[in-house]
Amino acid sequence: MDVRAVARPHWLRIHQPLPPRARLTFGVLSFVVPLALWSLVSYAPFVWHPDVRITDPGAVSYLVVGSTLPRAAFASEVAAAKMQGERPPRGVAADPIYLPTPVQVLEAFYGAFTTPPPTRDGPRLEQSLWHSIQVIFWGYVISSIIGVPLGVLCGAYAPMARLSEPFIEFFRYLPAPAFGALAVAILGIYDGPKIAIIVIGTFFQQVLIIANTTRKLDPALLEAALTLGGRDRQLLTRVVVPGVLPDLYRDQRVLLGWAWTYLIVAELIGTTSGITWFITQQARYEHFANVYAAIAMIGIIGLGTDMLLAALGRRLFPWDRSLGRVTGR
């Protein structure tokens, strides 16, 4: 046995799998480490804290308790007050208003669901979220209904690929939000253009990715099917499609993530709506904890959906042993 193998765990070597306990530990750490860094920056005054939060405005008329200002400005106010023999303002080192602490965000997370919306007729957070999820869902579904079959056909038949892929390659470089104004002109100001942006952002990548995945089917399987008497249409439906299905499913999971990344831009088009409306509103009132909470919620929904889909995939494709490894979970 290798001496080094005793000295350090084998999973430190290239391409070695982690034992289950270490997997869990590292998985938890991947969230704990950024959280710890955030806590350090936002709680320990000596780390950053570039601002001063006023605890006593002293004689400075424009300062109020609780407001913040940069250290340099605070220092000059103190110096000016002392020069004039007046009572200097006092304050504590603080983070800028846009960096809330983890606890504040956690409170905001809870509070966002329990407090009424800032305007009387405005939607509540869960309504905003639900609206966003619907926009994502329809954008993704419309893109997939056309994109997946087209991608499979492109991957299976060279004429299809040649007929569509050069144009799609061109189109995928066009930034989806560039079509925002056009989409509003055509589809109105409500959900239509938002869904369209997500479709434009997803569809073209989707066709190319699905086509490439389809091309990766082991040609030996097609040859085997041919020698068993399989004919063209049967090869497509009985070999190509089932053969690439687990990989297509994996692609679709990745693409769903991309659809989410187009959400914010899409929701700014026409009348701002959904989670984006919530975020912009909260930022306007400088409720940054709420902004972070809303952003975190998108992440949680995204990750949660993906984990659900991964679990579903393992049930749908029991023969595929590589499923669920897409993000190393």
């Binding site: 085997a224 041919l226 068993l228 008497g229 053969g243």
Partner: protein
């Protein structure tokens, strides 16, 4: 001439293996063996290959000959092995027989009608199993009958019958990844046979198996072959395997692939592994080695000799 192989004679043959001079000619056949070959020749021709050429066009239109002027035929229920050095085009040959590749010239006739593309009248077993991973063992075997228009329940009955033949009925609902290599290859064989092809083409089917599974599969294949009416063309780089299995061995040369000799294996049937020390076996092997390795330099010969029983040689 040797009338029959007595145990004592075969022992003697085994001991004298080192000195090839004492071996009988591989052309000597016992009465039984000769009679069986006469019987074989009297049967109908299943596959007839005439003047077959295959060239590949490489970079700058350079032509490489993979196969040149291949002629042979197989009779019904014959077991034909094809051996040859690496690069002799034996895989190309079997792919042409399967219809997966087109010959550059010449003709392949299956029971008198020309082969044009792949079809269910020729079953094929590949080295890499090629089972459909998304189908259970049973559904894999049903694939051929189903695409050829047999109803699902009928196909299922057929599949179970075939799985019984190879002792895998208990694994009917397992997925291929749950099977060992040997089991996978048994499924691949019955998947090809479920179409009731006229001929079974096997391209180094046991090349990826370890020595023990390989020996088991060889015995297994002979058993299946004895039970059903099937002609087999079997590609291998393992000379012992060829002698153990074949009625006749087609020896190809490399660059270009040409037929060197079509050897009638003088080892009587039923075949057993223990026959590999009989004089007929050793004489046949000596002849095969002579044919195949004479093309190579000494260094290469040693290298190939060492590789010989090894699995998974890249063609």
């Amino acid at each position: 001439m040797i009338q029959a192989v007595s145990p004592a004679r075969s022992m003697h043959g085994g001991q004298s293996a080192a000195s090839a001079g004492e071996l009988p000619s591989y052309r000597e056949q016992t009465h039984e063996v000769r009679a069986s070959f006469e019987k074989l020749r009297s049967r109908a021709v299943i596959l007839n290959v005439t003047r077959l050429d295959k060239t590949f066009t490489g970079v700058r239109q350079a032509q490489t000959w993979a196969l040149q002027d291949i002629n042979f035929s197989t009779h019904r229920r014959e077991f034909l092995c094809v051996v040859g050095p690496s690069g002799c085009g034996k895989s190309t040959l079997i792919r042409i027989l399967a219809g997966l590749e087109r010959p550059s010239a010449g003709q392949v006739l299956l029971e008198g009608s020309p082969v044009d593309g792949p079809g269910s009248d020729r079953g094929m077993v590949f080295q890499g199993y090629t089972l459909f991973p998304w189908l259970t063992v049973k559904r894999n075997v049903m694939f051929g009958p189903e695409v050829n228009g047999l109803g699902r329940s009928h196909a299922e009955r057929e599949a179970l019958k075939w799985l019984q033949l190879v002792g895998l009925e208990k694994f009917a609902d397992a997925y291929p990844h749950q099977l060992s290599g040997g089991m996978k290859q048994r499924v691949a064989i019955v998947r090809a046979l479920a179409n009731r092809p006229r001929i079974l083409l096997m391209d180094e089917p046991f090349g990826a198996l370890d020595a023990q599974s390989r020996a088991r599969m060889q015995a297994h294949l002979l058993e299946i072959w004895a039970k059903i009416d099937i002609t087999i063309v079997f590609i291998t780089h393992d000379l012992d395997e060829a002698i153990l299995l074949a009625d006749r061995i087609l020896v190809l040369s490399a660059h270009p692939g040409r037929v060197q000799e079509l050897i009638e294996v003088p080892v009587p049937r039923p075949r057993r592994l223990s026959q590999s020390i009989t004089p007929q076996f050793l004489a046949t092997k000596a002849r095969l080695e002579e044919l195949i390795y004479s093309e190579h330099t000494g260094g290469e010969l040693e290298h190939l000799g060492a590789d010989e029983p090894g699995a998974g040689q890249v063609e």
